[in-house]
Symmetry: C2
């Protein structure tokens, strides 16, 4: 597991939609570690800014130093720097740690003008920003208003945007991403721009492009788009096009974008790759947002992640999924593991005819079990999987021989075994396993066969523990000494069977960890487990009550 750290140097937004709050949410949602240095605090909400409290420059510097003294930082973004002093403090702190050569990717969001047109940075600060911070930056991300302020001229067309982005390179950053979110263009305008500038790469990554006609005809027609223009010092130019969305959930868009850019760059993406993924992430954040607050609400930063259906494996809990399965069926699981049949078998007081009925039916069940593993082999994709399933079939076939001998010791002949009528509980259980195996994928089939394997493992251990307790006090009467069923108990509590259980547990857990199931899929697996547990319990019922 790689741990990549992103440092954001920006303001705080109490409402949580912009500033370091938006940055930290973005960084987390993309799977990175976020640290932050605050330049100023704002008391604000979706309707506006109610107060600003600047952080003293030396304290800002101290925050940056505290982070850089201790953590390896893989990318940095700056947002609202508040004033000239704090911009200087930022530059000073960065220069104290990095030469131009070893500076990690630095994304500078030159926050000077808010979405509402409010000036956020004194003009004195602008000079420090452009002269001292831009030259250190991998990428600056001005919006239209900021570009206009920086270039002292207005931008009114796509051509203007192209020229402006190019010109902004003169301040010394490696690249400029000029954000056009506030300028609507027609699809045809972009096509015309592309034709006029064949050297430009046009990226329509979030739109339906060539050979996606089946998608486009069934989706809303896109009339209007917005574009961002990326110009790099090496001369490459990229235009990023996306559908224009009507939304009030745009508070913190710039913060989100620059944080997402820093994440992508930290991970080794090229500047244009970073621009493609970060603009797509931000676009989806706006589009999937739930309206919050009375004004311009925040983006949905969490669209890129989903809750896990199973907790992670840890040193003290290497079997979190199996634990979840058992917990979620605790009552029925206990009724099965500590079934009166098991209890009386442990005491040695189980009527012989019940046990005989059980082992005869178990003989039929084992045929289903071998077939289920054959089906698993047939459904497998790799030789190791085929091998593993086949070994289990061979084990069952060997077990059958032992089983016949065991039955003989209880007076049941091979002929009698073969002629035994299959009880309903046996058919129900065997049929269910084969049905699950036919319907689902190999994981679902494994869930069914392993529920049986693990269940008998638990029964074996429970009997063993109770027998051990018996010697002291508080035991439930389970004894091995003189128990007619001792051999049976010792098989399931024994090393060989328990090793098979261990491999089964490892198989389930490895599947759940390699392909973390959604809550829906986890529930599907759980349902198979529960059904098998009920069928196992019904099997004991059948045996104890001598049912057909």
């Amino acid at each position: 597991m790689r741990q990549r750290t992103i440092l954001t140097i920006a303001g705080s937004d109490s409402s949580g939609g912009a500033g370091i709050q938006a940055d930290l949410k973005t960084i987390a949602a993309l799977g990175y570690y976020g640290a932050s240095a605050l330049t100023a605090l704002t008391a604000q909400n979706t309707t506006g800014v109610q107060g600003v409290h600047g952080v003293p420059p030396d304290f800002l510097e101290q925050q940056i130093r505290s982070v850089l003294d201790d953590l390896k930082v893989h990318a940095i973004k700056t947002g609202m720097l508040y004033d000239a002093e704090n911009t200087r403090a930022t530059v000073r702190a960065l220069k104290a740690y990095y030469s131009e050569r070893d500076m990690p990717p630095l994304v500078c969001d030159p926050v000077c003008v808010s979405t509402s047109g409010h000036t956020l940075l004194a003009s004195e600060a602008l000079e420090v920003l452009t002269q001292e911070l831009f030259p250190l930056s991998t990428l600056i991300t001005p919006n239209k208003s900021e570009a206009e302020l920086l270039l002292s001229r207005s931008i009114t067309s796509l051509e203007n945007m192209l020229e402006a982005a190019s010109e902004l390179l003169r301040f010394g950053s490696r690249a400029v991403l000029l954000k056009g979110g506030h300028m609507t263009a027609a699809v045809a305008d972009v096509d015309a721009l592309a034709r006029a500038h064949p050297d430009i790469t046009v990226v329509r990554d979030v739109m339906y492009t060539e050979n996606m006609e089946v998608l486009a005809v069934n989706a809303p027609h896109i009339e209007n788009v917005v574009i961002d223009v990326l110009c790099q010092a090496d001369g490459t130019k990229t235009v990023l096009v996306r559908p224009r969305i009507e939304s009030t959930s745009t508070h913190g868009t710039g913060c989100t974008l620059s944080a997402a850019l820093a994440c992508a760059l930290a991970d080794g993406a090229s500047i244009s790759e970073a621009a493609v993924s970060a603009t797509a992430y931000t676009h989806l954040g706006i589009q999937t947002a739930v309206k919050l607050g009375a004004g311009h609400g925040p983006l949905n930063h969490l669209h890129s992640v989903a809750r896990m259906g199973v907790p992670p494996r840890t040193a003290t809990n290497p079997y979190p999924f199996t634990q979840l399965l058992i917990k979620s069926t605790a009552d029925i699981w206990k009724e099965y593991v500590q079934h009166p049949f098991v209890q009386r078998l442990g005491e040695g007081s189980l009527p012989k005819e019940c046990f005989v009925h059980f082992i005869k039916q178990d003989y039929h069940y084992l045929r289903y079990y071998a077939r289920a593993y054959s089906l698993l082999a047939a459904k497998s994709s790799t030789f190791p999987q085929i091998d593993s399933a086949t070994q289990t079939i061979l084990n069952v076939l060997r077990e059958i021989k032992t089983h016949r001998a065991f039955c003989a010791s209880f007076g049941v002949t091979e002929d009698e075994l073969a002629q035994t009528h299959e009880a309903s509980a046996t058919s129900a259980y065997g049929g269910y396993i084969l049905d699950v195996g036919m319907q689902g994928d190999t994981t679902r089939l494994l869930m069914a066969v392993l529920a049986c394997l693990i269940g008998y493992g638990e029964v074996g251990l429970w009997l063993k523990r109770e027998a051990e307790k018996g010697k002291e006090k508080g035991g439930s009467g389970v004894v091995l000494e003189g128990n007619p069923y001792r051999a049976w108990i010792e098989v399931y509590a024994g090393e060989e069977y328990q090793e098979a259980v261990r491999i089964g547990l490892e198989t389930i857990e490895a599947r759940a960890a390699a392909d973390p199931p959604s809550p829906a899929r986890s529930e599907e697996w759980r349902a198979v487990w529960e059904r098998c547990t009920r069928l196992e319990k019904a099997f004991w019922d059948m045996a104890l009550e001598l049912r057909d």
Copy 2:
């Protein structure tokens, strides 16, 4: 989608592991929306605190007001409140919005003593905290040192913890969660405690309990545990037990826990349910952390979420998964959709014998296709699924009649159709679909049959568009007028076929959205799509080259 908002009132930790940073990460990882009001800033890292900057009380109050003026807040947590003034400002701001009756759940982490024993709150502030904030709180979460400070006596045993937690209720909160993370106990001590106090509920949720013997025997033996004690004003007492972990990744544990508690309470959990889930979340955060920094590093807040394998559906992109499939196989998809066979068929220049070879092989292919849907019906779990698959089979059977007539119009008799030798490309494709259907679950089978359905839909639309272009300029020579294959083109570009495509798209996307695939599973699905696209291309190759 429910949007629940949590407000944290706490300090800032520049290193990102504690304070509002830990809170916001926790809140995001659990799927909630976080807002924050800062009480103080710290410049700190994993080795210690290098500086503190207090936020003026009226500015703290303004931040809280900005949030509460605009957002409906479902739970609040307080962390480090810095001093008496800021504690008062917090109480004042909360009381301005809420009466005692309508206060949302409030979790107060009474941060007075840091993990390292450093006092974080002046004694004057302690009085305000206990007398004014505790009575408003649903739950207070002192650690051992804080409880000792609050009660002016030392806590040295589990019994002491129980007494202390109970006694802390006198300050007026509805519940007290006394955190015992710094006191190690033996498993036997907890068992003794449980026996001595039969009224106490002992929760061992993150440990292996009754009837999990198969898990316990294969996991490390747990010698030492730590406990938290929850006492509620209604007299119920809960002891939460978890394995003691040796870890230096404990920076921000208290912040994380109280934020997780606030989230659970916001969602309507009872106090004890919240304590169970929040302590488990925090415990896993410590256990899955990657070491960061030179000292006590942060928890892993993201263990509860996973990256999504497929982007969300949106208004402008209702088919994100299919888009991903096409994008990920763009080159081969284009070779298939715009195959020379298709191109020449569109121009009307395709040799008749190629087309005849194609429709004869397609006849064989359709038999596989009908069987694949029969298999889908057999694997389905619901009547609507069985119905949908069966309708498709009936459609194919009807299509077969039309196909026979169509073949006849090209001089191919029914006898000739029946006697046609099946080409390798046909067997390969048909066999693959049935194999996928046999091996995997219904989604995987759907992926295979829909790749075919959607592909021909794209071919049909491409030919239609090119024919339309043809009338203007820039077309690739596709014409309908006088084209011997016009009828074929019109079937696949036609309304009826395109409606089937639309339903197919909806089916894939609904599956991906209902059961968001992990990246591993998404890749599995993609591999089926790619294979089918290659097999489709090979099918055109076979027809064009008249291969057997």
